[in-house]
Amino acid sequence: MKRLLLLCVIFTLSGCAVFDAYFMAKYDTNEYALINDIKTKAQVAEDNCANNLLVTTQVNEIYIKSLEFKNFVTHIPRNEDSIKLSDKLLILTKDTKEQFNKSAVSTFYCKAKLEQIVKSADTMQQVIGKKPR
């Protein structure tokens, strides 16, 4: 019954949506590895919030990795969804990098901001991992 309903939805969708879904970019190991790396680095940095110098260095690395992720996904055909996600993650990491480099941040801010990056990267990792093989 559930499948039948879903099939009905498909036939009521526009041809473009079906075309986009059928020809969407496949699962890419490098894409998955990059987002996993960003999440892991943010998790590691969370533990170093007491050391402002160390955590700032790690936040800078997270930003560079996000830029690398964005650059990697950009020219893969039919990969618009990953491009949109990478753009937003870059905005988040860039804002974080700027705050950390401006002045010493509070422990609460450090943990909360890195948690935002971890959660966002985790959300992205889940959907990137489900791309068709």
């Binding site: 499948r3 879903l6 099939l7 498909i10 969708l13 949506a17 079906v18 986009d20 879904a21 059928y22 969407m24 969804d81 990953s82 949109k84 996600l85 937003k88 993650l89 905005i91 988040l92 804002d95 974080t96 705050q99 401006k102 941040v105 509070s106 609460f108 801010y109 909360a112 901001k113 935002q116 959660k119 966002s120 959300t123 992205m124 889940q126 959907v127 489900k130 791309k131 068709p132």
Partner: protein, 68 residues
Amino acid sequence: MTPQELHELVNSYKVAVEQGQINKDEYVSLIYGINVMEGINDDAEGLLLKEQLNTILNAAIDAASLFA
């Protein structure tokens, strides 16, 4: 992340700024981050829907090929 979880995060930031645990600049940055996170959630939902549609289409094509 659910809207409920996002709402809880916003509240915790509000409490932190009221208690002086974070300054105004940091509060603004955290709220901005929440907005970006919402955008990421929306885009991720869109991608997930597309993936499900892809699975169904492939299953339909496989089923049709059995009768061909």
